[in-house]
Amino acid sequence: MTGLEAIAAYNGWNIAIVGISIVFTGLTVLALTIAQLHKILNFLENRGKVKQKQEKDMPVDTAGIILPEGIQESARHFKLLIDYMGQPFSLPRLLEFAEKCGLNRPHSALNDLILSGAIEPDGKGYYLWNKKYPINL
């Protein structure tokens, strides 16, 4: 069987019409959702920004505390690793990294950094680099 006859016999026209309609429906619904999503997120974010702004207005106590000389070097190394891993980071992963990279005595170096406050817990089990210690890499 060939030609229009075959198309009709196998319900071709209907399949094609229903098919393309569904493709359009699917992508249209997706497009509308995305457009709405954007607006909703914008709305939520604007509310968030107001809050953030208020926080930003608070004075930052001191910019650029200077680290004790002995750990300047290792601070620089660790900062590099942390930038690579992203923040907040987990200590064990940082140590693993540090060891892999062959840093000198990573354990105690890290200890120093925590003691000196350059690395701070974020309160949820992770750690952050204290922004008061700007390290120029």
């Binding site: 075959a6 098919g19 249209t28 997706l30 995305i34």
Partner: protein, 379 residues
């Protein structure tokens, strides 16, 4: 001594040189052309080179029984080909594509997604054409999907519906995808005026990280609830994209878009190529498939462009209708073609980024299309 000559002649009778006939030579020629296009012309080299070499591997004439041919049960090629026939390779490739695709431009201007829908007309018109040429419905559906211009989708659907046609359909799909820079421009120019081709698009807005994270989840739920049969492909596509965008699974995204997709691309390419064994491939059906394939790319391009012009009737800030051609997917080649054609009219008009929106939505569209056809054929 007699024995020696006998053994030798027996061996010689089993060499490829002896068993070679014109059909194998044709196929070896096709394989060489694929490899040539991939290397010298850089047309989709990551696909044409493996498929081309696979065609060579599949068309060394071999004696049956040892387990050398891809259609023999215990051959290495057969085992590797299982990833195609079981449908496992294409979703893994989609996983990798998801993990490397940036949907930002699409998210920035969702309207352009409709161009990716329009271009799927090619699928369904080709399906009708294949029925008219006398193909059975399952075969017709597989042929139609060539119009989706998406290799893994075509291979996936064909493996489900008409496994015997995997070779010709894959070869047709990749051939025309490689030829996109040849097929599309004349159609695009024919259907647009110079003025239309000069339309400039606004710089897309910046897309927030959260949008990018929520998109693959929402997109997955919306699309797969509508067309559940698209789940293996779209599920993996959106999953890969989530791994990429969420920011905390970077190492998984790296694996997906490197070792996973590259390994699967090698295996899929070489086995799909090898599945074109001359006696299976050189049939009248294959000729029909190639004719319909060319048609489908043409129809898809035209549909995209015309639909863009239709949209323009309703909106104030006009869309450059060339973008419609990018809806056929063939990522990123058809987007590149759009840029190129637009560039010819106005060297300062930069359409590429905008073309990525219909381009990637075309991938989603053809996966949905494949899902629909699959579910209709199984009734």
């Amino acid at each position: 001594m007699e024995n020696l000559l006998e053994l030798l002649s027996q061996f010689l009778a089993n060499t490829g040189y002896y068993m070679l006939d014109y059909r194998y030579l044709i196929m070896i020629g096709i394989g060489l052309i694929f490899v040539y296009l991939g290397i010298a012309k850089e047309y989709e080299p990551l696909l044409l080179v493996p498929i081309g070499f696979g065609i060579l591997m599949g068309n060394i004439p071999v004696f049956k029984g040892l387990g050398l041919g891809i259609y023999e049960d215990n051959s290495v090629l057969h085992y590797l080909y299982m990833g195609v026939t079981s449908g496992v390779y294409p979703p893994l490739i989609f996983l990798g594509i998801g993990a490397m695709t940036d949907f930002s431009t699409m998210l920035a201007r969702p309207l352009l997604m409709l161009l990716g829908a329009a271009a799927q007309m090619g699928i369904f018109l080709t399906f009708l054409g294949a029925l008219a040429l006398g193909f059975a419905p399952n075969e017709a559906a597989s042929i139609g999907i060539i119009g989706g211009a998406d290799g893994p989708t075509a291979i996936f659907l064909t493996a489900q519906l008409a496994p015997k046609l995997i070779g010709p359909i894959a070869v047709a799909a990749y051939s025309y995808m490689a030829l996109v820079p040849v097929i599309q421009p004349p159609i695009m120019k024919l259907l647009t005026t110079r003025k239309e081709r000069l339309i400039r698009m606004e710089e897309p807005r910046e897309v927030a990280k959260k949008e990018k994270i929520i998109f693959p989840i929402a997109g997955f739920l919306l699309c797969c609830l509508l067309a559940p049969a698209a789940l293996p492909l779209l599920g993996m596509l959106f999953f890969g994209n989530l791994l990429k965008e969420c920011g905390v699974t970077e190492r998984l995204a790296v694996a997906a878009r490197n070792s996973v997709i590259d390994t699967v691309t090698i295996l899929l390419g070489v086995t799909v190529g090898a599945s074109t064994q001359a006696d299976v491939f050189l049939t009248g059906q294959s000729v029909g498939i190639f004719v319909l394939g060319a048609l489908s790319f043409g129809v898809a391009t035209a549909s995209g462009v015309i639909f863009a012009k239709i949209i323009n009737l309703f909106i104030r800030e006009k869309i450059n209708p060339l973008l419609g051609a990018a809806g056929v997917s063939a990522v990123p080649d058809s987007a590149r073609v759009v840029q190129h054609v637009g560039h010819q009219e106005d060297p300062t008009n930069f359409l590429l980024m905008h073309a990525m929106a219909p381009n990637v939505s075309g991938v989603i569209g053809s996966a949905i299309g494949a899902g629909i056809l699959w579910s209709f054929m199984m009734k």
